[in-house]
Amino acid sequence: MNEFKTYHPLVNFIYFLSVIGFSMFFMHPVCLGISFLCSALYCFVLKGAKSLKTSIFCIVPMILTAAFINAAFNHEGVTVLRYFPNGNPLTLESVLYGFGAAVMIADVILWFSCFNEVMTSDKFVYLFGRIMPSLSLILSMTLRFVPRFKQQLKAVAQAQRGMGKDISKGNIISRAKSGLTILSAMVTWALEGSLDTADSMKARGYGTGRRTAFSIFSFDKRDGLALGTVIILSVYIMAGKAGGCINFRYFPSVKGAAASVWSISVFAAYFLLCLMPVLIELWEVRKWNALKSKI
């Protein structure tokens, strides 16, 4: 179900680095659209329809709010639609820009939710354990802490409920009281846990010498091929950006670079890059079916 995840961590990381980077910097509407479509599709492939639905429910209101807020505070642009009561103009350009910026944020959020699914903390430590050991250790500990904290919170809340202190019942004061009890228990637990961790690490000789990390990742032909594709596509897209064929300006008037064979090929490359994990997935499914039918 998740073929791209089985690739070498380096391939995963370079892929998300370039895709998220491009999503953050390309404001051309076509690029935004490609990125949004592909990230939503990949999110769906990775996590299923339910998860995608919840994120879309958060993202659509966010896009509309951002477009509105930008137009309320940014009055630049040559197309004046109407005037605010205080006399400042409402311009088409600021609405469009707000819309574009919001789609960009949505893209990045969706890509990061895919990133979290694919780049697990063991992959992260494998990649960065040598270059910045303490940072990657802290990162993996923190990332692990959040779900652990959530789990413990649930357990404590349940135990408190068993004792008759339910945070979902009663008036606001009693609810706040029982909530505080839970919070105090959680803080104590977290502090105690951190002390325990520190003691345990010291007892195992942390910091006395170089650390090694166990991993079973191997870089084979398949990974090389994928990495090569990602790098070639990225370089081509960056060359297109540097050449200005996918530039788009929002202020003072909306104007994009003229469509040409070059710009269309860059868009195609971007589409291919964004769609790569899904294509790999489909290819793998096809291969699996082909192998099965032969037996």
Binding site: G77, V78, V80, P89, T91, R249, P252
Partner: protein, 265 residues
């Protein structure tokens, strides 16, 4: 040893980045270091430097002769400005400005106005009547023409060839209105884009941009300034109450008013 060397390198890189940010980020003297800080010291020095910077950009500026003429005009204007009176405390107090003697400024940080000039009137206290009066209004940005290389390329198309955004013409206003009221109404009426921002500290609107030409668009010291009957008031445009026949000029400066002869700094 190797670790220490790395640290030294890191330090040098950080200092280089900070220096570059200081230079290009606008805190360096002059316009990105192109002109000089000595402009403050006197008109004689500033004339020399003006000419120097003019010749520096002569090859890029669109109309050489015109900008040359302009700089002469500005020099004259600067001289006039220098000889013009400083703010007069007695006059301002007499005319009802509420100046705090310990700080020397009024409630909204305005220093005393020169003798013979109108004192600021807060828009909350201004009484606007039905009586129609006329004044002249013009909006110009010709200083940009001689500094085109500082302007973002995307905005070149917005600058009119003669630098006139709103040609000088007679407009109607109602007794008690301020310069800001007139500008807002005329820009709306003529479908010219204009953005402002209310600044409570000075109790006035601040004009951020007219015709999509904004503050800081043409160098770090650029923005819109106004003069009434040739004088650059030392308070905001919402506090300048107009009289019949006043001449309002909105002009774009690229150098904190020095290039248009209206430096309040």
């Amino acid at each position: 040893m190797g670790k220490n060397r790395n640290r030294v390198f890191l330090g040098i890189i950080i200092i280089a980045v900070l220096a570059a940010a200081y230079w290009w980020g606008g805190n360096a003297p002059g316009l990105k270091g192109k002109s000089s800080i000595e402009l403050n010291e006197g008109s004689a020095v500033s004339v020399e430097l003006d000419e120097e910077s003019e010749s520096q950009f002569a090859d890029i500026s669109t109309e050489n002769t015109e900008s040359g003429e302009k700089s002469e005009e500005t020099d004259e204007a600067e001289k006039i400005d220098d000889t013009s009176e400083k703010g007069s405390m007695e006059y301002s107090l007499e005319n009802g400005m509420d100046i705090d003697p310990s700080t020397g400024v009024d409630e909204y940080k305005t220093e005393p106005v020169p003798e013979g000039k109108p004192v600021p009137v807060d828009e909350q206290e201004a009484e606007i009547t039905e009586k129609e009066l006329t004044c002249t209004l013009s909006v110009r940005c010709d200083t940009i023409l001689s500094n085109m290389d500082w302007l973002d390329e995307e905005k070149w198309e917005l600058v009119p060839e003669d630098g006139v955004i709103f040609a000088k013409q007679s407009v109607v206003f109602y007794e008690g209105e301020s310069v800001f009221n007139v500008l807002l109404r005329e820009m709306k009426k003529n479908k010219i884009h204009m953005e402002f921002e209310n600044t409570p500290m000075y109790n006035s609107a601040y004009i951020r941009g007219i015709g999509n030409l904004y503050e800081f668009d043409c160098g770090e010291g650029s923005g819109w300034m106004y003069k009434v009957n040739g004088w650059f008031p030392n308070y905001g445009c919402s506090r300048y109450q107009l009289e019949d026949g006043d001449e309002i000029e909105w002009v774009y400066t690229c150098d904190l008013g020095r290039d248009i002869g209206g430096s309040n700094y």
